[in-house]
C-alpha cells in the first residue's frame, strides 16, 4: 500500500489540482470576509467574535468544499482513464482495489489539508480582529471541529467519488451530484432526526458544530460509517471486474 501511496503522491506532484483547490479556498475566504461587511441591525457581521470562524465553515461546507473535495477525488480517479494509463497499470498488474484505496486515502489527506488551511485563514482573520476575545480553548475546539469536518466530508462524498471509476466518461455527473448532495444538507438540517442521518449534516453533528444528543451523534456516526462501507463495497466490486478494463 505504501508503494501505491508513493505513486499517487508523485502523480499528484505533476498536477496543479491542489494549487487550484487552495486558490479557490482563498477566494471563498475573501468572499465570506466580504459578506462579513454586510450590516445587520446596525452592526457588521464580522464584528461579532467567532462569526468568521463559524461562517466560513458553514457557508463553505454547504456550497463549496464538498464539491471541491469531490472534484479532487474524481480527478485523481478519472485521470487514469483520461490519460489512458489504466490499461498499462492493469498490465503490470496493479490491484485495482489497492489503487483506488490509495487514491481515496490521498483524497482524505487533501480534504484534511484543505480544512486545515481554511482554519488557518479563519484563525488569522479572527485573531487580527478579536485577539483579546479569543481564548486557547475556543481555538482548539474550532481546530478539532474543522479537522472532523474535513474527514467527515470526505467520508460523506466518498461513495460518489468511488462510483466515478465506473462512470468513466460521465464523471461530470458525479460532480453535480456531489454539489447537490451537499446543498440538500441545508434542508436536512431543519429536522433533527434527518439532520443526524443525512451524511452532510451528520458531519456537523459529529464535529460539534451542531448541538446534538448522544443518540443523534451515534446515528450520525453510523451514517458516515455506512458511507465509508458503501465506498469499500464499490471498490471490492470493481476489483472483481477489473479484467474487463
Amino acid at each position: 500500500m505504501t508503494l501505491y501511496l508513493w505513486a499517487e503522491r508523485l502523480k499528484l506532484k505533476r498536477s496543479n489540482i491542489f494549487k487550484i483547490a487552495i486558490f479557490s479556498t482563498i477566494i471563498i475566504a475573501a468572499i465570506v470576509f466580504m459578506q462579513g461587511q454586510f450590516i445587520y441591525y446596525g452592526e457588521r457581521y464580522i464584528d461579532e467574535p467567532e462569526w468568521y470562524l463559524t461562517a466560513i465553515q458553514s457557508l463553505g461546507s454547504f456550497y463549496v468544499f464538498p464539491a471541491i473535495i469531490a472534484l479532487m477525488g474524481t480527478y485523481i480517479i478519472c485521470r487514469e482513464n483520461q490519460d489512458d494509463t489504466l490499461k498499462s497499470l492493469v498490465l503490470i498488474p496493479v490491484s485495482i482495489s489497492k489503487m483506488l484505496i490509495a487514491k481515496l486515502l490521498m483524497t482524505a489527506f487533501y480534504s484534511l489539508l484543505l480544512y486545515g488551511f481554511v482554519f488557518l485563514i479563519a484563525l488569522t482573520v479572527e485573531l487580527s480582529l478579536h485577539f483579546s476575545l479569543l481564548n486557547l480553548n475556543t481555538i482548539l475546539n474550532n481546530f478539532k471541529m474543522y479537522l472532523l469536518t474535513g474527514i467527515g466530508f470526505f467520508l460523506a462524498v466518498s461513495p460518489i467519488i468511488t462510483l466515478v471509476y465506473k462512470l468513466k466518461g460521465s464523471h461530470w455527473l458525479a460532480l453535480i451530484f456531489a454539489e447537490v448532495f451537499a446543498f440538500l444538507g441545508l434542508f436536512a438540517s431543519m429536522q433533527s432526526t434527518l439532520r443526524a442521518i443525512y451524511p452532510i449534516t451528520a458531519v456537523f453533528n459529529i464535529s460539534g458544530y451542531y448541538e446534538a444528543t448522544s443518540s443523534e451523534i451515534i446515528l450520525s456516526l453510523i451514517s458516515l460509517i455506512l458511507c465509508g462501507t458503501v465506498s469499500i463495497l464499490f471498490i471490492m466490486r470493481f476489483n472483481k471486474n477489473s479484467s474487463k478494463v
Binding site: I27, I28, V32, Y63, L71, G169, S170, W172, L173, F187
Partner: protein
C-alpha cells in the same frame, strides 16, 4: 452559423448523460413537497410553492452549476478528442465557435427550466399542496422561460474561461466559486457580478421576493455586457494565439 449550431446539437445526441443532467431540475419541487408536507401548509399559495420550486435555489445555484458543468464538459471533450484542431482547420471563426456553444447552453437552460416548471405543476398538484389555476400555471411557465433565457448570459464568463483551457479543473473550480460569489452578492452589491445582476433582473417582479434595494435594470445590463464582452474578447485573444488546440 446555423449549420455550426446544428452540428453542436448533433454532437449532443451522442452524449447520453446530458439527459441525466436534467434530474436536478426536479430537485427543488421534491424538496418543496417534503418541506410543506412536514411543516405548516397554512397560506400556501401557488406562487409561494413556485418560489420554492423554481424561483429560489434552482435559479440561484442549481441551474448555474449545471450550465457551468455542461459548458466545461462540452469544451473539454472537444479538446480531449482533438476536435478543436480540426475546427480551426475548417476554418471556424473563434467568435462563431463561442456563440455556437452559447446557443447549446441557452437552449439547454430553457429546457431545464421548462422541466422544472412541469415538475412543479405535476408534483404540486399530485401531492395536493396547491390548486392549479390557469393564471398561476401561465405565470410560472412565462417566468421559467424568462429565467431559462436570461440566466445563461450570466454564465458567459465561465464559457469564455472554459474555451481557453485545455483541462477542466480550473473551469469547474471557478464555476463553484463564481456561483457562490454571485449568490453572496445578491444581498450586497449585485452589479459587481454578472450572475447576480441577471438574478437581480429575474427576481425584481416575483411576489414575496424582497431585494435589498430596488433593482436598477440598466446597471445590471451594463454589468452583464461589460463582463461578457471583456471575457469573450479575452477568450478570442487566447484562442487566436493558438494556446488551446
Amino acid at each position: 452559423m446555423l449549420s455550426l449550431i446544428q452540428t453542436e446539437f448533433l454532437k449532443l445526441k451522442r452524449k447520453k448523460f446530458i439527459w441525466f443532467m436534467f434530474i436536478p431540475a426536479l430537485l427543488m419541487p421534491l424538496v418543496a413537497v417534503l418541506y410543506f408536507k412536514a411543516g405548516s401548509q397554512v397560506d400556501l399559495t401557488p406562487i409561494k410553492f413556485y418560489r420554492w420550486t423554481a424561483f429560489s435555489y434552482t435559479t440561484w445555484l442549481i441551474l448555474p452549476f449545471v450550465l457551468g458543468m455542461l459548458i466545461t464538459m462540452l469544451v473539454y471533450q472537444e479538446v480531449e478528442n482533438n476536435l478543436l484542431t480540426q475546427l480551426w482547420i475548417v476554418p471556424v471563426g473563434k467568435l462563431r465557435f463561442i456563440i455556437s456553444k452559447f446557443c447549446v447552453m441557452w437552449l439547454y437552460s430553457i429546457c431545464f427550466m421548462l422541466i422544472c416548471a412541469s415538475g412543479s405543476i405535476v408534483i404540486g398538484s399530485v401531492s395536493g399542496l396547491i390548486e392549479i389555476t390557469n393564471t398561476s400555471v401561465l405565470n410560472l411557465i412565462l417566468k421559467c422561460l424568462e429565467i431559462g433565457a436570461l440566466l445563461p448570459f450570466g454564465m458567459i464568463p465561465i464559457l469564455a474561461l472554459a474555451t481557453t483551457q485545455k483541462g477542466y479543473i480550473l473551469p469547474v473550480s471557478t464555476t463553484i466559486v463564481y456561483i457562490f460569489f454571485g449568490f453572496i452578492l445578491l444581498m450586497g452589491n449585485m452589479y459587481l457580478h454578472p450572475l447576480s445582476s441577471v438574478i437581480g433582473i429575474l427576481m425584481r417582479n416575483i411576489e414575496g421576493v424582497v431585494m435589498k434595494d430596488p433593482v436598477q435594470i440598466w446597471k445590471a445590463l451594463l454589468s452583464i455586457a461589460l463582463w461578457s464582452g471583456s471575457s469573450i474578447a479575452l477568450a478570442i485573444n487566447v484562442l487566436r494565439k493558438g494556446k488551446v488546440v
